[in-house]
């Protein structure tokens, strides 16, 4: 084959934006949450986050080197994956388990399928699910917020509390107030508790045009409407658990979510639907991660349903 003849599909004109710029924006958007999580959960949140970032980058480097492939750690995508993965972990998780999570995210989910842009599922969310299924105890060992340097204590997450409250025995434990949940003064994984900073990060990404707000709004909106319709407390459900983190940072991943706005809408609604069903009716208290993974899997089909009519061309038949 003639190596000089470059055959590519459109677009042939490229903007100056690189993957690195986008990933840098995502990292910037995640930093307020990181700062606040250190404030909420103590210094170990920072150690765990740094460890995940470093280990993910290391995994990517070693894999690309062993397989004699081009080095891609410069695009910062591994660092973003590491940070988002750390945000999905409880602060007390042993480092070696986090290392297994990083390995799953980078090597198994991302690199084995061909590296950046070719993974079918979100690496961080898949690694979180693998860890949740594997290490049930350590992955649900939620530390109560302790506002820097006070003593550590374990406590249930708001969703676990709500789950218990619906069963006949409980009702004694008070659910946390909306303000505490909004500001992150609740137990949970490192990056999911503070909705304020997550929203700031999301707003930054929207303003920088890194993401469009379609999928997050559809996701959160569906959860709100559906949980309200099914008789649960809608405000509580959008503030609890990893919904905001998932909606803003993982349901907007370029690789594993649909490309068209219509597709993103379907993706978000689907995520919301699955999340509410799992939260209210299934065994797990939280369903955001499963929802995103399941919708990742149907993303190619959504893309196919939402093909845009090419300018001047005939409308594609949805297959």
């Amino acid at each position: 084959m003639n190596k000089n003849l470059v055959i590519t599909s459109s677009p042939h004109f490229r903007a100056a934006t690189t993957t690195r710029d986008i990933m840098l924006d995502v990292l910037v958007a995640l930093i307020p949450t990181l700062v606040l999580s250190v404030f909420i959960f103590g210094f170990r949140a920072l150690i765990l986050s740094a460890f995940c970032v470093i280990f993910c980058v290391l995994c990517e480097y070693v894999y690309r080197r062993l397989m004699k492939l081009s080095f891609t750690i410069g695009d910062l995508s591994a660092a973003v994956t590491g940070l988002i993965l750390a945000f999905n972990l409880p602060v007390s998780l042993p480092l070696w388990m986090a290392a297994i999570g990083c390995f799953i995210a980078i090597v198994i989910v991302k690199q084995l399928f061909g590296g950046i842009g070719r993974n079918f599922a979100n690496p961080a969310i898949t690694a979180r699910i693998a860890l949740t299924i594997s290490f049930v105890g350590p992955m649900t060992n939620w530390t109560a917020p302790r506002l820097f340097l006070s003593d550590a204590a374990t406590s249930a997450t708001p969703l676990a509390l709500a789950d218990a409250a619906t069963s006949a025995t409980a009702g004694v434990t008070a659910l946390p107030g909306y303000m505490d949940m909004f500001l992150g003064m609740i137990s949970g994984s490192i990056g999911e508790t503070c909705k304020l900073t997550l929203l700031i990060g999301g707003l930054y990404l929207v303003l920088r045009k890194v993401i469009t707000p379609t999928a997050p709004l559809a996701f959160v909106g569906t959860v709100f409407v559906l949980s309200w319709a099914l008789g649960a407390d809608p405000v509580y459900h959008i503030l609890a658990g990893g919904l905001m983190l998932g909606a803003i940072f993982m349901a907007t991943d370029y690789v594993t979510t649909p490309t068209t706005e219509m597709g993103k809408l379907i993706f978000g609604v689907g995520c919301g639907l699955i999340t509410v069903i799992i939260r209210l009716y299934a065994g797990y208290p939280e369903g955001v991660s499963f929802a995103i993974l399941l919708m990742n899997i149907v993303t190619p089909h959504i893309d196919r349903l939402c093909t845009i009519k090419a300018f001047g061309g005939a409308r594609h038949k949805a297959l």
Binding site: M97, I100, I108, A130, I133, S134, F135, V136, G137, P138
Partner: protein, 233 residues
């Protein structure tokens, strides 16, 4: 057939044409029962017994069985031996019976056994069929044992019930579930391909000629049904 031929017939099934790892037959029982090494061994032993016996009987009856109803005939023969195995296991090893559950009676429809009956026993002599059954059975058992060992060590920290890392390191229970099973399965196939440099199965045997299910599907994939089999579709 000469001595060397017979020996290669026996060892064919172990690595070169391993039914699970190379021919990719019998995936369902492989994934389902390989959560523990001992289960894999039990399942492998049961299937090997049925495989040898059914191969021998089918090779004996190959000239009697009418071509058009051969699959039901094979199934009846296999089911007879499976029933024997099931009763024996229930009587002498009830815990293995408990662990294997439904998958013991399901040996009846195990693709390996039906595949070997169709592909080998119906065309070869009794002795060769017995050797083929033994070889394939060993290959199946070996694959199950490897998968069972990996999944048990990683998933529960034990091997044949003996604690290895249990109590010291938290085992990854995902290896006991379906995703872990698929993952280990794929990894072992990849490792075998790497070790044999993809030569485990010869290119020519990738077509309908080498496919154990070719007779069953009648070459449906190629769109050309063999003339003598047209009646069954």
């Amino acid at each position: 057939m000469e001595k060397k031929g017979r020996l290669s017939l026996l060892f064919n099934g172990v690595i070169k044409e391993n039914p699970v790892l190379v021919l990719l037959l019998g995936t369902c029982p492989t994934l389902a029962v390989s959560t523990m090494a001992v289960n894999g061994l039990g399942m492998g032993a049961a299937a090997t017994f049925v495989l040898i016996c059914s191969n021998v009987v089918i090779a004996m009856l190959k000239n009697v069985i009418p071509d058009k109803v051969r699959i039901p005939c094979y199934i009846v023969i296999i089911a007879g031996f499976v029933t024997m195995v099931q009763l024996i296991v229930k009587a002498y090893a009830p815990e293995v019976d408990q662990a294997l559950g439904l998958f013991l009676p399901l040996i009846v429809v195990n693709c390996i056994i039906l595949g070997r009956a169709e592909m080998f026993a119906s065309k070869n002599s009794v002795l060769n069929s017995a050797l083929d059954g033994l070889g394939m059975g060993l290959g199946f058992t070996l694959a199950l044992l490897i998968m069972g060992s990996v999944r048990e060590i990683l998933g529960s920290g034990t091997w044949f019930g003996i604690p290895i890392t249990a109590g010291r390191i938290d085992p990854m229970s995902i290896f006991l579930l379906a995703p872990g099973g698929f993952f280990v399965y794929g990894t072992i196939i990849a490792a075998l391909n790497k070790l044999t440099k993809g030569r485990a199965i010869k290119r020519k045997s990738m077509g309908c000629d080498g496919c154990p299910s070719a007779a069953a599907c009648g070459g449906a994939g190629t769109g050309q049904c063999p003339p003598d089999k047209e009646g069954q579709s």
